[in-house]
């Protein structure tokens, strides 16, 4: 089976290990494993460690998920608890289970 060319480069901005951040990462991993298996990459950036990165991606809310690729760039803020909204935001067609 030919590998799909599409990949998702995702960046999750957090500030320390807050419950919201932990929930967001957990939710994100779950959605990706379900719908994007093998086609995604998640980078977690902790702004407490790298505050200088907040300006570049225009981060103001925490947690924020940034979809770098595929373009255009989209931002999803919050703990990502609403799966439907996250999938719309990431432009993912849900896999029918």
């Amino acid at each position: 089976m030919a590998k799909l060319e599409k990949t998702w480069e995702l960046r999750l901005y957090v500030a320390g290990k807050t419950p919201k951040s932990v929930a967001a990462l957990k939710n994100l991993r779950k959605y990706c494993e379900t719908h994007l298996k093998g086609m995604y990459r998640i980078e977690v950036i902790d702004l407490l460690e790298k505050p200088q990165l907040a300006e570049g991606d225009q981060i103001f809310a925490i947690p924020t998920l940034v979809r770098k690729v595929p373009e255009p760039i989209r931002k999803i803020i919050g703990d990502l608890s609403n799966e439907e909204k996250v999938l719309v935001g990431l432009n993912i067609r849900p896999v029918k289970v």
């Binding site: 300006e55 925490i62 760039i73 999803i76 803020i77 608890s81 609403n82 909204k85 935001g89």
Partner: protein, 505 residues
């Protein structure tokens, strides 16, 4: 006396006076007003002045304009934001919030903004912060509950950081700001307003609230021009400046004589009124010339003629005003009265006076200002001008044109001034002559006589009129009598000249 809270000077002309020293130090201040009221500029000037005058670096976080647009917009004011950024005196951060690019799902907070701001503050050791206009967050984010809680936390956090902050807010319907920011910022609230009255734009500022400090509660006009913002106090708070008993020459020796031989009091105000073409500008120009000749500085505000016109015209009576201009002793400022409202004229004059520090100021003529404002308003403006210059010890000469429409202005103004000179047209025997007399001169002995006022290529002079059985003679009739007297070798006994006719040196 109540001990006032610590304050941070804004460096904005006039604002520190009405706030009695600046904004509350280490606390947030809200500046709000409608679109185009000047709040962004005021906030930015606060940052720039902090960085340049008080060695307090500042962070400007813009939620509205892009950082580069902001730099371009204020470059005309001489604010070099690029340079300040290079020198680590300023940090601009543009927070881009667009609802269409954002999806909200679940709980979040604004830690990202806190971290970003905290990083910006720490990277340059900022003491001042501006958030302009943080309300834009409301347009980008839909969760009002989270936003309100986070804003409360943000202002608390700013206080803990110890930075002096300005938060700007857009005017709302029936409220100071659209999203009720005043609820979070309780220390100091300033409202700006921009309105058009009689087609002339006027900007005003009011301090609605200043906790723990006395402050002026009036509406203060302010001006935005190539030097940023100037706020001007409506009435001076104190009336305790020393007055001078020193005298300054009028530039016309024979007029000095009428003022007890010495001229005006330094720092006094003189009104010069008369009908058209009686030489008011010439007398004023003479005074300017004399001031500069004695190495003093003078500002000539002309509401009727351009500087070039005045210089040319005064050359015809032997005054070389351009040499004083070249030496930097004399400044002309000509404006059309309709160019600004009265407040703006006054603001402009204050600023120029503050900058140039003249010894004498001339306003020629004040009557033209009536075209901009009501007589009452003109009076109150002049009162403030007289007051202000008196406090600074600057001699002020006002000229007023007497004509049908403005008949009473000189009478109204005369109570404000220390001395009042009147120049009259006298028409006799088919010729027109000028007569001058002093209506009043507070605090000094002065002549009560009517003198003939002569303007010639040699300059200005006052001569005694002839009084005799023929009545008072003036002009060529007086000259004829004078000649007659000379021919007789002595006065003929019937009429007399009060004093020897004074000649110009």
């Amino acid at each position: 006396m109540m001990k006032s809270i610590p304050k941070s000077k804004t460096g904005i002309n006039g604002l520190d006076e009405i706030t009695e020293g600046g904004l509350p130090q280490g606390r947030p201040t809200l500046i709000c007003g409608g679109p185009g009221c000047g709040k962004t500029l005021m906030a930015l000037e606060f940052i720039v002045k902090g960085a340049t005058l008080y060695d307090e670096p500042g962070v400007f976080m813009a939620f509205e304009e892009k950082a580069d647009e902001l730099s371009a917009n204020v470059a005309s004011l001489g604010f070099d934001l690029e340079k300040l950024q290079r020198n680590k005196k300023l940090r601009l951060d543009y927070v881009h919030i667009k609802a269409s690019e954002i999806e909200e799902t679940g709980e979040y907070d604004l830690d990202g903004l806190f971290i970003r701001l905290g990083h910006a503050i720490d990277s340059i050791g900022a003491k001042r912060v501006v958030l302009d206009t943080i309300e834009n967050l409301f347009a980008g984010l839909s969760s009002q509950g989270i936003l309100r809680a986070e804003l409360r936390r943000l202002f608390q956090w700013l206080k803990e950081k110890g930075v002096t902050a300005i938060i700007t807010g857009e005017k709302g319907e029936g409220a100071l700001t659209r999203h009720g920011l005043e609820e979070y910022v309780s220390d100091c609230v300033i409202v700006l307003d921009h309105r058009i009255i009689n087609q002339i734009s006027t900007r005003r500022l009011r301090i609605v609230k200043y906790r723990g400090s006395i402050h002026g509660t009036n509406e203060y006009p302010f001006l935005i021009d190539e030097e940023g913002i100037t706020v001007l106090p409506v009435t001076s708070l104190k009336l305790d400046k020393a007055v001078s008993s020193q005298r300054v020459s009028t530039g016309i020796p024979t007029l000095d004589q009428m003022f007890g031989g010495k001229g005006f009091f330094r720092g006094s105000s003189i009104l010069l009124s008369g009908s058209a073409g009686t030489g008011k500008t010439s007398i004023a120009a003479n005074f300017a010339n004399e001031t500069c000749r004695r190495k003093g500085k003078c500002i000539f505000f002309a509401f009727e003629e351009s500087p070039q016109q005045i210089i040319r015209n005064m050359r015809s009576i032997g005054l070389g005003l351009d040499q004083h201009v070249k030496k930097g002793l004399l400044q002309f400022h000509s404006f059309r009265p309709g160019l600004y409202g009265l407040e703006m004229h006054l603001a402009k004059m204050y600023r120029l006076v503050k900058k140039f520090k003249p010894h004498a100021v001339i306003v020629d003529p004040i009557t033209n200002l009536v075209s901009v404002g009501l007589l009452n308003d003109v009076n109150s403006m002049l009162l403030r001008l007289v007051d202000h210059l008196q406090n600074e010890g600057i001699t002020l000469m006002l000229t007023a044109l007497n004509s049908g429409a403005t008949e009473h202005i000189d009478e109204n103004v005369s109570s404000l001034v220390d001395a009042w000179l009147l120049v009259r047209d006298v028409e006799t025997d088919g010729e027109r002559n000028r007569a001058l007399y002093i209506m009043k001169s507070r605090g000094m002995k002065h002549s009560k006589e009517v003198r003939e006022f002569i303007i010639s290529s040699k300059g200005l002079n006052l001569v005694d009129v002839y009084r005799g059985p023929e009545g008072v003679l003036i002009g060529s009739a007086r000259e004829a009598k004078e000649k007659e007297a000379m021919a007789n070798g002595k006065q003929n006994g019937r009429g007399h000249f009060r004093a020897p006719a004074n000649k110009i040196r």
